[in-house]
Symmetry: C2
């Protein structure tokens, strides 16, 4: 279900569903995992946990360099692990506790996962001071294609529409 | 290396490195994979290929619903597969051809992967018409925390700084 419809189905206001008292122990767990990740040499100083009904259902630490995967950020890993544990592609009803504000990749992943709320420790500006691109990426994504440093060009739009036509016509599709 | 330094090291203008003639056959390959993905019932109508020096080094189609992974978008899968094939966490020197404009998650992943260029078929608005959230997510990411539908709250910033302190002090870290 598209997020806008999902959001409406949830009463039009996810903020109202925010836990009254987030549990700082879950964020402390993420921070401890992030620091341990640096000491173990597995990747950047980031970790996250996914919580459902007061219980951790997935954890993840940054493993970009050890897993040779530029998408293996803490939040993406935690979301993937939680979904694997729960056998689902949606984390509605779950909260994300992450040692640092999610980068745009991880924030968008949180929407796609239908997470209820995000609690974070350091900010994107703190990450920038430690040498990471999070704040820069937020600036880039606000720009139009032509103004971005990564060149992005549209081609063959008419031909590409065929894939959407197949989707719209499909009778057995699973929406997400 | 942070993107801003990487960008400077590349001469301050990735646009200058853009291939003079993108090869439409690579985009046609992505479109065919996207349509096949719908027919196979594996996920949404999206696929992508990563190309290096005129050769495909990684392919990916959306597998959100079949893999129970909300991050398993076409571009993320193609980037992960290309990195696995090349044994690296950076795709500098590679281009991404994708059947649809990357969503914010996939665009940010493209930056983290250091891709040289992106060529896409359908736009985020086309995706929105087919029931996907891409355009909505671009709007959300432009907003401040407080104005987003997904509640995002900062906590324990001082404690969280410990992970960055460990990173800055680490002598054997691999930057990315």
């Amino acid at each position: 279900m598209p997020y806008c419809l999902y959001f409406r189905a949830r009463g039009g206001h996810l903020q109202a569903n925010r836990p009254q008292s987030p549990n700082p122990e879950f964020l402390r767990r993420a921070i401890a995992l992030a620091t341990e990740n640096v000491r173990a040499g597995k990747g950047g100083p980031f970790a996250a946990v996914v919580v459902r009904e007061g219980r951790i259902v997935g954890e993840g630490a940054n493993s970009v360099t050890s897993a040779n995967d530029p998408t293996a950020h803490a939040e993406v890993n935690a979301i993937r692990n939680a979904c694997r544990a729960l056998g689902t592609f949606t984390l509605a009803g779950c909260e994300l506790y992450t040692s640092c504000e999610p980068c745009p990749m991880c924030l968008a992943a949180s929407y796609w996962a239908r997470l209820d709320a995000i609690f974070f420790g350091c900010s994107a500006a703190d990450a920038a001071r430690a040498g990471f691109d999070d704040a820069f990426l937020y600036e880039e994504l606000r720009r139009d294609h032509a103004a971005r440093t990564l060149p992005t060009t549209q081609m063959l739009r008419e031909e590409a529409q065929a894939s959407f036509d197949a989707w719209i016509a499909s009778k057995n599709k699973i929406e997400y």
